[in-house]
Symmetry: C2
Subunit: 243 residues, 2 copies
DNA sequence: CGTGGACTTGACCGATCTCAAAGAAAGTGG
DNA sequence: CCACTTTCTTTGAGATCGGTCAAGTCCACG
């Protein structure tokens, strides 16, 4: 049942047969590490590190898959493409995130880099073998899926029932939580179009809403990709649709 | 990691301490049984059967959960409610479907019956115990989650990037596949409002689109809740956005 | 039959999309 | 390091899809 994902974009990837052992398993905080999974020592040794440039495809929807990935630096997006070019971003990935889940041996989304990225790639069969022997790993995998699940369902509510302002407010808060920031400064590695494709909006609508939020003094843009959440409780009220 | 779900609506449920053993595990077809899970003999004996009337809450979002459920007859919906009354249906449930996944011990959606329903309820801790001993069960659970996953991501695309006509077309095809029908006659147990809340539309829009589809001769309404898919390839073209 | 809820249809409105263009940032090559 | 190009972002004007409100119709059920 554990399957994986395939294919580093050939010219973008810089394979490195580094066998360096990421020794201590460093238990990741359960609360903030929504999509993170502790990889035991035995695992880390099995993985190879790859460096991938920005805006490259890591793997594509539908491809036969043979690997799992863990991202160690940079940001990426998981998306579904429609034949006419429409795109829905299903999730963003940040350092520590584990990805590459598959169904019937094929990837069910496309993974693309947003920035330059470093990933560790694991062989599907090696991990499966380990899972067969170690129930703990399997349980962690289930827990991981379960958390993803919760995130997906919140995403469904956003797409199905919230207006543009609510969506953007929810997104900013979500991202801040994902990144585990304690202060109110938010780094947005992705562009406005990526945000739009995550929220089921357009580029322009995201811009307009951000402008409105600035005017309302709920946020302050320090730069294009740095936003200060000035009034987080007001943002939260917006995001929840409390009004 | 395996958690469960709680609380049969008190006045709606009719507890029956039936210990009847659903003997043969009857392996369910992998292809069509998207959300179904084989429950081993040992499991079935642990479950109790409940009868619940239509339009009742089986359990609510946020409640502490102690059970899993398997639906044996009727239809139900899983939904998320917003404070102001907006509602997003996350999934529909049909006979054979297994549900009650939780996060951190709480339900993360509300389950409500659409028709009169019969469910088998399992104790969380008993199932967990069994899972600890039987890797197979755990793997099945993972596989189940993984399939749900795929469905959720398709749902995301529908909500984020498809227009009303595409959504309804996709819904009809999806439902037909879910119900495993070989002919082109579709039974819709749910009302138009439920469909709307699943698709992120309104009642009225669903009606208007259905009317358009009738006029285009893509479907034919035999009754309110029985629809004949007359031109399935055209529906599919619509649903995929192939124009 | 009569009643209530679900469904359908119409008219109108508005949030968001589309199209267009200007402005800002980032990458490129000399 | 600067000029050039490209890409991303922002803002505006107009179009449109789907929502809202309202009325009418159809069933299901007592």
């Amino acid at each position: 049942m554990l399957h994986a994902a395939l294919a580093i974009n050939s010219k973008a990837s810089t394979a490195q047969t580094s066998k360096r052992i990421l020794s201590s398993p460093q238990m990741i905080g359960a609360a903030s590490a929504a999509r993170q999974m502790e990889i035991p020592d035995a695992f880390q040794q099995l993985g190879k590190e790859f460096h991938i440039a920005r805006n490259q495809t890591i793997f594509s929807e539908g491809e036969i898959s043979t690997h799992y990935y863990k991202i160690t630096s940079g940001s990426a997006r998981l998306c579904k493409h429609m034949p006419d070019g429409r795109r829905q971003i299903v999730d963003f990935l940040f350092p520590g995130d584990f990805f590459g889940f598959t169904q019937m041996g094929s990837n069910y989304f496309t993974a693309e880099t947003i920035t330059d990225v470093v990933v560790i790639r694991f062989q599907q069969n090696q991990i499966e073998h380990l899972c067969d022997e170690r129930l703990l790993v399997h349980q962690q995998y289930s827990a991981l899926l379960s958390k993803h699940f919760m995130g997906l369902q919140n995403h469904l509510v956003i797409l199905g029932r919230q207006n543009a302002m609510e969506r953007v407010a929810a997104f900013l808060l979500l991202l801040q939580e994902r990144l585990g920031r304690t202060n109110d400064l938010l780094d947005l590695p992705m562009g406005r179009l990526d945000i739009a494709d995550y929220l089921g909006l357009t580029n322009e609508t995201v811009c307009r809403v951000l402008t409105k939020l600035k005017n309302k003094k709920l946020i302050k843009a320090l730069s294009l990709h740095q936003i200060l959440l000035v009034n987080k409780s007001a943002l939260r009220a917006l995001a929840e649709g409390d009004i």
